[in-house]
C-alpha cells in the first residue's frame, strides 16, 4: 500500500504574502487513518489539495512511498479525493460518475462495469445507478462521491469534510460506515474535518493545525489528554479544557503552590522537576470532567480542593454541566457532573480537582509546562 510523507510543506498563494501553510511535516503510515483537524481557514484544505496535486507546493517535499511527488500531476499520483460539495458530475448518471475516472485509465469496459457493480453493491447504490445526481438525496450523493473514490482503488484516499453537508443523524451513521470501509479496505486515508467528534472517533492519529502550522500530532486520546499548548487544550473537548490564570509560587520546602484567585492549591511532588526555577503567572488547565463535586466519582489519588460558586447549570440529559465562578478569577470554570446532580445558582460548594491530569501552560508561549508522564490514557 502506501505511506505519505510531508516534509516542510509550505504554501504561499499567489495573491497573498502570508503563507497559508507553514512548514508542515508529518508522515501518514501505510493503512493509517490520519485526521487533519483545525478551525476554519487554518489551511487544512490547502494541505489536502497539495497532496492531491490540485495546488502547487511552494516549499518542502511531498513523498508517496518515498517517491517525490511535488511535480507529478494529480492524475498520476494515484490518489482519490472526496470533496465537501461531492463534486458529482451533474450531467452524468451515477454509473457514469463512477466510471468517469476509470475510462481514462485504459481499463476494459467489462472490468469497469464489474467494478462499478461491486462498489455500488457495497455502498447500497445499485438501485440508483441509472439516476442523475439531482435525483438523489444528500446521503446518497455522498455515497456516490465515496464510491467514485473507491472504484479507482487508489493508493491514498483524501477526504475534505465529506460529512459536513449531511444532517446530524446521517452524519453519525455515515461516520461509522466510513470507518468500517476503512477497516475493510485498509487504505491510507487523510481526512480533513473541523468536527472534533469525527476526529476523535475516526482517526488513527489526529494532526492539529492552526494558522497554517502543525500544532500537535498523535493518537486521539493522547492529543485530548495531553494538549501541547493552550490552543489544542481549548480546541478539543466540549466544553473544552478550563484554562485558568494562576500564580505559581515555590514554597519553602521546595514544593510548588498555585494561587488561583484567592485560593491556593498544592502541586503534586512529581511535578517539581519540571517547575524548577519557575514562578509567576501561569495558566492552569483542567478538563471539565476532571473536576468533581464532593461525593461524586473520583478515581485518582492526587487531588486538590477548591471552593466555587455556581453561576449557571446546563442539564444536558446524559450529564450536567455546571458553570462556576472562582473568587478573584475572571474565567468561568466548567465542570461536568453526573446527570443526577442538583445545584442552584449562587450555591457555593467544595470541589476537588484531579491533579494527576492537570496541565500547566506558559502564558507567553502558550506551551505546556507540565509534561506529565504519569498520565494514563
Amino acid at each position: 500500500m502506501a505511506f505519505v510523507t510531508l516534509d516542510g510543506i509550505t504554501k504561499v498563494y499567489e495573491n497573498s504574502r502570508e503563507p497559508a501553510v507553514k512548514d508542515i511535516s508529518f508522515e501518514v503510515r501505510d493503512g493509517e487513518f490520519m485526521v487533519l483537524l483545525g478551525p476554519s481557514g487554518c489551511g487544512k484544505s490547502t494541505v489536502l489539495r497539495m497532496i492531491a496535486g490540485l495546488e502547487t507546493i511552494s516549499g518542502g517535499d511531498l513523498r508517496i512511498d518515498g517517491e517525490r511527488m511535488n511535480s507529478v500531476p494529480a492524475k498520476d499520483r494515484d490518489i482519490a479525493m472526496v470533496f465537501q460539495s461531492y463534486a458529482l458530475y451533474p450531467h452524468m448518471k451515477v454509473r457514469d460518475n463512477l466510471a468517469f475516472g476509470l475510462r481514462r485509465r485504459g481499463i476494459s469496459r467489462s472490468d469497469i462495469n464489474r467494478r462499478i457493480e461491486q462498489v455500488a453493491e457495497s455502498l447500497g447504490l445499485t438501485p440508483y445507478l441509472d439516476r442523475k445526481p439531482h435525483a438523489l438525496s444528500g446521503g446518497q450523493r455522498q455515497r456516490v462521491a465515496v464510491g467514485r473514490a473507491i472504484v479507482r482503488d487508489p493508493k491514498v484516499f483524501l477526504f475534505d469534510e465529506p460529512l459536513s453537508n449531511l444532517d446530524a443523524s446521517l452524519r453519525v451513521s455515515t461516520r461509522n460506515e466510513l470507518v468500517n470501509l476503512h477497516n475493510r479496505l485498509g487504505a491510507t486515508t487523510i481526512y480533513v474535518t473541523h468536527d472534533q467528534v469525527e476526529a476523535m472517533t475516526m482517526g488513527t492519529r489526529i494532526c492539529i493545525i492552526n494558522d497554517g502550522k502543525l500544532v500537535q500530532i498523535g493518537p486521539p486520546m493522547e492529543v485530548y489528554r495531553k494538549p501541547v499548548n493552550t490552543f489544542v487544550a481549548g480546541f478539543l473537548g466540549s466544553p473544552p479544557m478550563n484554562l485558568i490564570e494562576a500564580e505559581l509560587k515555590s514554597g519553602a520546602d521546595g514544593a510548588f503552590k498555585l494561587d488561583i484567585g484567592t485560593q491556593c492549591i498544592e502541586l503534586p511532588e512529581a511535578w517539581i522537576s519540571y517547575l524548577q526555577g519557575k514562578s509567576g503567572k501561569i495558566i492552569f488547565g483542567i478538563r471539565p470532567e476532571d473536576i468533581f463535586l464532593s461525593g461524586q466519582d473520583m478515581k485518582r489519588g492526587a487531588n486538590a480542593a477548591v471552593t466555587m460558586t455556581v453561576t449557571a447549570v446546563e442539564a444536558l440529559g446524559a450529564e450536567t454541566i455546571i458553570i462556576f465562578e472562582l473568587e478573584g478569577v475572571d474565567t468561568k470554570v466548567f465542570v461536568k457532573a453526573d446527570r443526577y446532580t442538583r445545584a442552584n445558582i449562587g450555591d457555593t460548594m467544595p470541589l476537588s480537582i484531579d491533579m494527576g491530569v492537570a496541565r500547566l501552560f506558559d502564558p507567553v508561549t502558550t506551551k505546556v509546562i507540565s509534561n506529565n508522564t504519569q498520565l494514563s490514557g
Binding site: E14, G53, T56, I57, N70, P73, A74
Partner: protein
C-alpha cells in the same frame, strides 16, 4: 532552480482556449475599429494611396447639416422610443401579472414581433402605412376619421413618428416579458401587502411596483437606447432616410456616404462613424451614471 508550473494556471491551456476568440476579435473587431479611426483622418479612395487630411473630415462633419439632421433624428428616436416601450410594457406586464386567463398565450403572442427580421417588419409596416390600401388608413376611414388618413411615410413631419411607432410595436412585447419576469421574482408578500393597504392603483404602481423593478427598467432603457442609436435596417427598408432627410439616422447616413453616394471616399463616413461611436459610448456611460446617482440618492 526548478520552477514549478502553477497547477491552477496551466498557461498552455489558457492560451489554447483564448487564441481563437482573440484572433477573431482582433481581426474582425479590434482591427476594423482602429482602421476606421485611422481612415477618419484620411481620404480613402479605391486604387489610391490614402491621403492624410488631419482633422479636415471632422471640420467638414461639423458643418455637415445632413449629419446633424441625422443626429437629431436618431437622438429623438433613442430618447423617446425606450420610454414608450417601457410605458406600455409595464402596463401589459401588470395585466398579465394579475393572473388574467390566457396569460401564457398573450405573452407568447406579444413576444413574436421581436423574432422577426427588420426587413420583414419594415415591409409589412410599409404596407400598413400605405395611403391607398394600408390598414391604418382603411381603419381610419372605416371609423369616420377620414381626414386623419394620410400618407404616413410620405409626410416629412410624420414619417419619423411613424417609424418610432414601428419600433415600439416591435419591442414592447420583449420589454414586457423581461419586466414580467422581474415582477415574478419579487417576493409576493410585497405586492399583496400593498393590496391590503388599500392605496389606489396608479399610486401603488408608482410608489411600490416601479421602485422595486427599477433596476430592470433602467437596464431595459439602456438596452433600448443602444438599439435605437444603431438603427439602420428598418429605415433602410421603409424610407431610405426620406422623405427630405426626415428619417435619416446616423447609421443610414454613414451607409449612404460610404456605399451609395458616388464620392467613393471611405474616410469621411469613417469620421462620422468615429464620432458616433464616441457619442454612443458617452450616452451609455451617462445614462448608467445618471441612474446610479439617482439610486444612490434614494437608498
Amino acid at each position: 532552480m526548478n520552477k514549478q508550473k502553477d497547477l491552477s494556471q496551466p498557461l498552455g491551456a489558457i492560451v489554447t482556449f483564448l487564441v481563437p476568440a482573440l484572433t477573431i476579435y482582433v481581426a474582425f473587431t479590434a482591427y476594423p475599429v482602429v482602421r476606421t479611426i485611422y481612415n477618419s483622418f484620411h481620404e480613402v479612395l479605391p486604387g489610391h494611396p490614402n491621403e492624410f487630411l488631419g482633422l479636415q473630415n471632422y471640420v467638414t462633419l461639423y458643418n455637415d447639416k445632413y449629419f446633424w439632421g441625422s443626429v437629431k433624428n436618431t437622438l429623438t428616436w433613442a430618447l423617446t422610443a425606450p420610454f414608450f416601450e417601457q410605458f406600455f410594457a409595464i402596463l401589459l406586464a401588470l395585466a398579465l401579472y394579475a393572473r388574467i386567463p390566457g396569460a401564457r398565450f398573450f405573452r407568447i403572442v406579444w413576444f413574436t414581433p421581436v423574432l422577426m427580421s427588420f426587413v420583414v417588419v419594415g415591409i409589412i409596416w410599409m404596407w400598413i402605412f400605405n395611403y391607398d390600401w394600408g390598414a391604418l388608413n382603411v381603419i381610419l376611414r372605416a371609423i369616420g376619421l377620414e381626414n386623419l388618413a394620410m400618407s404616413w411615410l410620405g409626410d416629412p413631419s410624420i414619417a419619423l413618428p411613424a417609424l418610432i411607432l414601428v419600433t415600439t410595436w416591435m419591442w414592447t412585447g420583449f420589454n414586457m416579458v423581461v419586466l414580467l419576469a422581474a415582477l415574478h421574482s419579487l417576493p409576493s408578500e410585497v405586492l399583496e401587502a400593498s393590496e391590503l393597504d388599500n392605496c389606489n392603483w396608479p399610486k401603488k404602481l408608482w410608489f411600490v411596483i416601479i421602485p422595486m423593478i427599477r433596476p430592470t427598467i433602467l437596464n431595459l432603457i439602456v438596452l433600448s437606447f443602444v438599439g435605437k442609436m444603431k438603427i439602420f435596417d428598418l429605415v433602410w427598408i421603409m424610407t431610405k432616410g426620406g422623405p427630405l432627410w426626415s428619417t435619416e439616422t446616423v447609421s443610414t447616413y454613414v451607409y449612404k456616404r460610404a456605399f451609395e453616394w458616388n464620392s467613393f471616399d471611405l474616410g469621411y463616413p469613417c469620421s462620422i462613424a468615429s464620432v458616433w461611436f464616441v457619442i454612443v459610448l458617452a450616452g451609455v456611460l451617462l445614462l448608467t451614471f445618471i441612474f446610479r446617482q439617482r439610486d444612490k440618492l434614494e437608498y
